[in-house]
């Protein structure tokens, strides 16, 4: 073993409290970098997934549902409301100028289903006109979604036989979707006829029917619009809001920019926290190594007398800092991976933002970056603290020591 590593290892082991304290600082730094980076990446992935998923230029929901069960609630959180358009309003919406395509959706909230511990959002779409759900389903399933078929979100627990029960009737799970990081991962999709059938069963089985007298075959919870080329979605949304008082139209760009703004704010806070932890850790690490250096002038003098150059001293201190910071960085990153993966779901609920964890490759890269960053910070702080002493004349070190 090289002498620098041997001396470093012995020093680390001979002062366990000091070593653990220094390692803990590096662990804190690595944890902050990994957990912060993981959260920011998850939010960015979530936004990207949300952007891809939205598929429409304008979303319209009944005005009464604003603030509760609005389209962005549905798209982000899977929260549905019990408000529906009249056929007259749907017709008026579709007649608005500048619309290239419009499709209706029908939202239904299930009671506690056999498949799930929580309530499940059921979204019915019209296969004839849909442009928002089917392209997304097509990424996981190429077959047809017939009557009696459902497509489950990524977080739905699908039984081994592929059958799922809603309101006393079983349905075939035709496909399970990719994870989106939004509340829709706990939603179930089916065509309108299937969802209407579920609603009828619900009305039969439950004392309080979810539709409260609305005909499920005709009920519309949302209208998604794709505008003609060259038409500003905001103009179409304004037009609907002005002329149809019972409708609340929101341009998708507005929803995305709202999410992006939230994301930017949260990312900024996370970035600020990571920077603060970094500055604090660097300052404390540098102070620890500075104190250590002052304590160890005699040791440095002995090494210099024995022929060690200032570079050799830096190697000893570097090896010591690398051993301690490396161990701390690895522990902090491991803890960061564990906690980040464990709390990814909570993050989505707490921030009300789409959260999609990065893949294994990106997670490993982030972990390597966190370890590297904390390691370099530890070694860098040690070098800064010891550089002046390492370059000091040996005779002066001896004078200061005696």
């Amino acid at each position: 073993m090289r002498i620098s590593r041997k001396i470093a290892l012995r020093n680390v082991l001979s002062k366990p409290f000091r070593s653990v304290f220094t390692a803990a600082l590096s662990a804190l730094l690595a944890f902050a970098v990994f957990a912060g980076g993981f959260a920011v990446l998850s939010l960015r992935n979530g936004l990207e997934s949300y952007r891809e998923r939205l598929g429409a230029d304008v979303a319209v929901v009944p005005a009464a549902s604003k603030g509760h069960g609005s389209v962005d609630d549905v798209l982000l959180q899977g929260i549905t409301g019990n408000y529906y358009f009249s056929a007259k309003d749907v017709k008026k919406i579709k007649e608005t100028a500048g619309i290239a395509a419009a499709t209706e959706q029908f939202f239904l909230t299930s009671a506690k289903a056999g498949c799930c511990s929580a309530r499940v959002q059921i979204i019915g779409f019209d296969p004839e006109t849909d442009f928002a759900v089917l392209p997304w389903i097509a990424r996981s399933y190429s077959g047809e979604i017939g009557e009696g078929d459902v497509v489950a979100g990524a977080d739905i627990s699908v039984p081994g036989d592929g059958l799922i029960t809603f309101y006393g009737e079983t349905y075939r799970v035709a496909a399970q979707l990719e994870k989106t990081g939004t509340g829709l991962d706990t939603a179930v999709y089916a065509n309108r006829a299937t969802v209407a059938n579920m609603a009828k069963n619900a009305a039969r089985l439950l004392e309080t029917a979810p539709l409260q007298g609305v005909d499920p075959a005709a009920a519309v919870s949302a209208v998604l619009i794709r505008v003609e080329e060259g038409v500003d979605p905001e103009t179409v949304a304004d037009d609907i809001n002005v002329h149809i008082t019972k409708a609340e139209a929101t341009p998708a760009r507005g929803m995305i920019s709202g999410v992006a703004k939230g994301l930017s704010g949260v990312s900024g806070i996370i970035g600020g926290l990571v920077a603060a932890v970094w500055v604090l850790s660097l300052a404390v690490l540098a102070a620890v190594f500075l104190l250590l250096t002052n304590e160890r002038k005699k040791e440095f003098a002995v090494l210099r007398i024995s022929g060690a150059s200032p570079g050799d001293l830096l190697r000893v201190i570097g090896a010591e800092a690398a051993a301690v910071s490396g161990a701390g960085a690895a522990a902090g990153t491991a803890l960061g991976v564990f906690i980040s993966l464990l709390t990814a779901g909570d993050l989505r609920e707490r921030l009300s933002l789409p959260v999609l964890s990065p893949g294994a490759g990106a997670t490993l890269l982030l972990a390597a970056l966190a370890v590297g960053f904390a390691l370099l910070s530890g070694v860098g702080a040690a070098f800064v603290a010891v550089l002046r002493t390492a370059k000091r004349e040996t005779g002066l070190l001896l004078r200061e020591d005696t």
Binding site: K6, I7, R10, L13, G307, A308, P310, L398
Partner: protein, 222 residues
């Protein structure tokens, strides 16, 4: 081997102020040839240790130069001088000097790790001559003052250096150990090394071929 100081002086500043300084060693010419054991005696604070550090290449002179076989030590860069010292200069510093977390044997073989000569067998032989071979595997932090002093003498002698500088080498030693340590230094001189001993100890002074006195930074032959 010949070590020569030409007009060597060293001043220090007090409290880092450029106008407030003092000379620890005033302009000094000095030559020590291989085979000679010389002593520098004098009161505390007279400049003996500073002079020893200048000759050993551990302290840069503010004036003059130090030549080892004609090579100016301070014309070498820091790394080259360190490696040169590891191979050619054995130094026993004043006070206790050991890496506490290394064993006695590991401490003694340190110069070999930085390009100096010597090996484990020679280290064991030196420890044997100094009477501490049985402590080879003991951590330096567990040694008494006298044992640590003998260990640092063994470390200085390990690479068979041409110049040995020993600052108070017998300070912590009992008479038997003093005899052993001075005997080893004499043996090194007989093998061609130049030995400079900085000391208060009459026994050490009595064992030297030449004796110098240092007073207020001025070196004179006695």
């Amino acid at each position: 081997m010949e070590i020569r100081a030409e007009g060597v002086a060293r001043r220090f500043f007090r409290n880092g102020r450029n106008t407030n300084y003092f000379y620890a060693v005033r302009k000094t010419d000095f030559t020590l040839k291989g085979g000679t054991v010389a002593a520098v005696a004098g009161r505390s604070g007279s400049g003996k240790t500073t002079f020893a550090n200048l000759l050993g290449g551990l302290l840069r002179p503010t004036e003059g130069r130090v030549l080892y076989d004609g090579r100016d030590l301070f014309e070498m860069d820091e790394k080259a001088r360190s490696r040169f010292r590891a191979a050619n200069v054995g130094f026993v510093p004043q006070g206790l000097s050991a890496l506490q977390n290394l064993t006695v044997l590991e401490n003694v073989t340190l110069p070999a790790c930085f390009g100096g000569g010597g090996d484990r067998e020679r280290a064991m032989a030196l420890l044997g001559e100094l009477g501490i071979a049985d402590l080879a595997d003991v951590y330096a932090g567990e040694l008494s003052g006298g044992e640590a002093r003998r260990m640092s003498i063994a470390r200085a002698l390990l690479p068979v250096p041409g110049l040995i500088i020993a600052d108070e080498p017998t300070g912590d030693l009992d008479p038997a150990s003093t005899t052993a340590a001075l005997g080893l230094l004499r043996k090194a001189a007989e093998n061609g090394a130049g030995v400079l001993i900085v000391t208060h100890d009459p026994a050490a002074v009595g064992a030297c071929d030449l004796v110098y006195a240092m007073e207020n930074g001025v070196l004179s032959r006695e």
